[in-house]
C-alpha cells in the first residue's frame, strides 16, 4: 500500500480541476439593437459540468490524499463563485485573470490554461467538465492535453487510479456503449455531466475558504505567455453574427388522429430528432 497523499515519485498527489463561471443559460439574451450578448442582470453559476469534475477529483483526494487545485481563466468576479469549490474540499484557487485574456476562443483558452498548469508545477490529473453551458464546445479537454502533451480520457463517468503503475483508467461513454481506457499519468480527464452528485459545501470550511490567501491571481506576465496566443489576438475564430434562438419553452403541440396516424407522425419526428 502506498503512503497516503503521496504519488509513487514521492510527492503529494496533485489534481487540478478547470472550472468556469457562466451566466444561467436561460437568462442570456441577444440585444436586438447591438446584436451582442446581453449578460447584464443574468445570474451566474459555476458551469454545472465542472461541479461533476470537481466532485470526481475530490473523491480521489478522499481516497488517495493529496491536494486539489481549482484553475480558472476569467475576470475577478469569478472569485467568490470559485470559493464554493474550496468549501467543498479543494485546497487552492488559481485564477488566470488579465484583460489580455479576454475574447479567447478554444485555441487561446487551452493555451492559457496550459500555461497556468505548467506554472502549477507537477500535476497528476487535470479534470474538466465535458463542456461549458455557454459555449458547449467540449473541445477544451483535448486541446489542453495537446498543449501539455498529456494523455487524455474524455467523457468519463468513472475513474480508477493505479498509484503503483502510475496509470488512470476511465470508463468513457460512447453512443450505445462505453469503453474502458487506460492512460499513463499525467492525463486530462473530461467528466460526463451528471455522472456523480457534487457534495454540498461544508460550512465549517467556509471561513477558511473565504480567506484572501486562498486565491492566487496570475496575469499574463506572471504566466510568461506568448501574447500572440492569448485573448482575442490569439483566437483564430471570430463571431460574425448572433441571434436569439427560438424559445426554449416546450412547444406544446397536440397531435391528433387514429393511433396509426399518430404513430406515423411520431415515427417521423423521432427519426428527425435522433438522426
Amino acid at each position: 500500500m502506498w503512503p497516503t497523499g503521496m504519488s509513487p515519485d514521492g510527492r503529494e498527489w496533485h489534481f487540478v480541476v478547470c472550472m468556469k463561471v457562466v451566466p444561467k443559460p436561460e437568462e442570456v439574451r441577444v440585444d436586438p439593437e447591438t446584436r451582442r450578448l446581453d449578460r447584464a442582470g443574468a445570474r451566474s453559476e459555476i458551469n454545472p459540468p465542472d461541479m461533476n469534475a470537481l466532485e470526481m477529483a475530490l473523491q480521489l483526494k478522499d481516497r488517495f490524499g493529496g491536494r486539489v487545485s481549482i484553475l480558472s481563466m476569467g475576470p475577478p468576479f469569478f472569485e467568490p463563485y470559485l470559493r464554493v469549490g474550496l468549501a467543498m474540499g479543494a485546497d487552492h484557487i488559481y485564477l488566470l485573470s488579465d484583460r489580455k485574456f479576454g475574447g479567447a476562443d478554444t485555441l487561446a483558452t487551452t493555451y492559457t490554461l496550459a500555461r497556468g498548469i505548467q506554472k502549477l508545477g507537477p500535476v497528476d490529473l487535470v479534470f474538466c467538465g465535458e463542456e461549458s453551458s455557454d459555449g458547449a464546445t467540449g473541445q477544451v479537454p483535448p486541446g489542453l492535453a495537446e498543449w501539455l502533451d498529456f494523455s487524455q480520457i474524455t467523457l468519463v463517468t468513472r475513474v480508477e487510479l493505479d498509484p503503483m503503475r502510475r496509470v488512470v483508467r476511465g470508463r468513457r461513454e460512447r453512443p450505445g456503449g462505453y469503453e474502458i481506457l487506460e492512460v499513463p499519468l499525467p492525463a486530462v480527464i473530461s467528466v460526463k455531466t451528471g455522472c456523480n452528485e457534487p457534495r454540498f459545501m461544508d460550512y465549517r470550511l467556509k471561513p477558511w475558504a473565504f480567506a484572501p490567501e486562498r486565491v492566487t491571481v496570475w496575469s499574463a506576465s506572471d504566466l510568461e505567455v506568448d501574447e500572440t496566443f492569448v485573448g482575442t489576438a490569439g483566437s483564430p475564430t471570430q463571431v460574425s453574427g448572433l441571434a436569439q434562438a427560438p424559445s426554449r419553452e416546450r412547444k406544446r403541440i397536440r397531435l391528433e388522429g387514429t393511433p396509426e396516424e399518430i404513430a406515423r407522425v411520431l415515427a417521423e419526428r423521432l427519426r428527425e430528432l435522433l438522426r
Binding site: G234, P236, A243
Partner: protein, 339 residues
C-alpha cells in the same frame, strides 16, 4: 496574431472529411458530411476528400466515393484500430500538412471531438465546434461560416476564421440530410504512409462494449411509463430497443412492483437528460417532471387531455398509450424494413 502552420494562400480548395467508422461501415454522420461537402463543393468548384484511418478499411472507400468524395486518403495499420486519439491525430496531422485543405470537418461525436480538439492545437488553427449549419463565403476567398448554438440552445452564433487554415469544424450528427449515393462513382485513392510505434501510443483500450451498459442518466432516448400503461413495460422495452434507448418509470409502476426502483425517474429517482423522452400514461406529477426537464424533446401520451404532463411536452397525444405504442412500434419496424 499567431499564424496557423499554413495560411489561406497556401490552402487547397478542398473539403476534407474525417471518416468515422464502426464495425467496417462508415458512420452516418460521416456520410452526412460527405453529402453536405459535395453540395458546397459543387457550387464552389472545390474538391471533396475523405480521410479514412483504421485497419482493413478498403471496403469503405467505395462508399466514400458513392457519397461524394473525389479522393480518399487512406491509412491502413493495425495500430489505427480501434480509435485512439494519439494515433489518429498523428496520421491526420501528417496528411493535412500534405494535402493542405482549406476546410477540415469531423462529426461532433466523442471520437470526432477528441481528434479535432487535439488537431486544431497541433495545427495552430481555429475550431468551430458542434455546428448546426455550414456555408461557404466565396466572395471572401472561401471562408467557412459555421452556425453554432450556445447557452443551452438559446443563442445562435455565426463563426468564421478568415486567416487560419485548415478551417476546422465539428458538426452535430443529424443536421444534414443524406444524399442519394451514386453507386459506381469512383475517385482517387491516396495511400498514406504510417509510421507508428506501439510505445508512442499511450492509450490502452482495456474493454470496448457496444450496445450495452448504458445507464439512465446517459441514455439518448428514454421511454417512460406511468400508471396508465398498466404494467406493459414489455411494450415500452420493445420501443426503447428500436430507438436505442432505455426504459424508465414514474413512481406508481415502481410501487406496483412492475419495474425496478433503479428505473424510477424524478426527484427521488434518476434525473435524466435524454435527447428525447417519450412519456406514456403519466399524468405529470411535479416530482416526476423534475427528472425529465432537461430532455431535448418531450413527447407525452395520455388519455386525460387536462393532464399536467402536456404542459411539459413538445408533442402531446391525447390517447391510450397502449394503442399508440404498438402502432408506433409497427411504424418504426416498417421504416427499418424500408431502409
Amino acid at each position: 496574431m499567431a499564424a496557423s502552420l499554413y495560411g489561406p494562400e497556401e490552402a487547397q480548395s478542398a473539403f476534407w472529411i474525417y471518416l468515422e467508422h464502426e464495425q467496417r461501415a462508415l458512420e452516418r454522420v460521416s456520410l452526412e458530411l460527405l453529402s453536405k461537402a459535395r453540395a458546397l463543393a459543387d457550387a464552389a468548384g472545390w474538391r471533396v476528400a475523405g480521410l479514412l484511418l483504421g485497419h482493413r478499411v478498403e471496403p469503405m472507400v467505395e462508399d466514400a466515393f458513392a457519397w461524394g468524395a473525389d479522393e480518399v486518403w487512406v491509412a491502413d495499420h493495425p495500430l489505427l484500430e480501434p480509435f485512439t486519439v494519439e494515433a489518429h491525430t498523428a496520421i491526420a496531422f501528417q496528411a493535412i500538412l500534405r494535402g493542405r485543405p482549406s476546410v477540415f470537418l469531423c462529426g461532433a461525436t466523442p471520437n470526432g471531438r477528441d481528434l479535432a480538439g487535439r488537431l486544431a492545437v497541433r495545427l495552430r488553427t481555429g475550431l468551430t465546434a458542434d455546428c448546426t449549419d455550414l456555408r461557404l463565403d466565396l466572395e471572401k476567398g472561401g471562408v467557412l461560416i459555421g452556425e453554432v448554438t450556445g447557452f443551452g440552445g438559446g443563442i445562435v452564433a455565426l463563426i468564421t476564421m478568415p486567416n487560419h487554415r485548415p478551417q476546422m469544424a465539428t458538426v452535430r450528427p443529424g443536421v444534414f440530410p443524406l444524399a442519394t449515393p451514386q453507386r459506381g462513382r469512383t475517385g482517387v485513392v491516396i495511400p498514406l504512409e504510417v509510421d507508428l510505434h506501439p510505445e508512442a501510443l499511450r492509450t490502452r483500450v482495456v474493454e470496448r462494449v457496444v450496445g450495452r451498459g448504458v445507464d439512465l442518466t446517459q441514455a439518448p432516448v428514454l421511454v417512460v411509463g406511468g400508471r396508465g400503461i398498466h404494467g406493459r413495460f414489455d411494450l415500452l422495452q420493445e420501443l426503447a430497443s428500436l430507438l436505442g434507448g432505455e426504459v424508465g418509470a414514474t413512481r406508481p409502476p415502481v410501487d406496483e412492483g412492475w419495474i425496478d426502483r433503479e428505473r424510477q425517474v424524478g426527484q427521488t429517482g434518476v434525473v435524466c437528460r435524454p435527447k428525447v423522452a417519450l412519456v406514456c400514461g403519466a399524468s405529470g406529477a411535479f416530482q416526476f417532471v423534475v427528472g425529465i426537464q432537461n430532455a431535448g424533446t418531450v413527447i407525452a401520451i395520455n388519455t386525460d387531455p387536462e393532464a399536467p404532463i402536456f404542459e411539459f411536452a413538445d408533442y402531446g397525444v391525447v390517447g391510450d398509450a397502449l394503442q399508440v405504442i404498438p402502432a408506433l412500434i409497427e411504424a418504426l419496424r416498417a421504416e427499418r424494413v424500408m431502409a
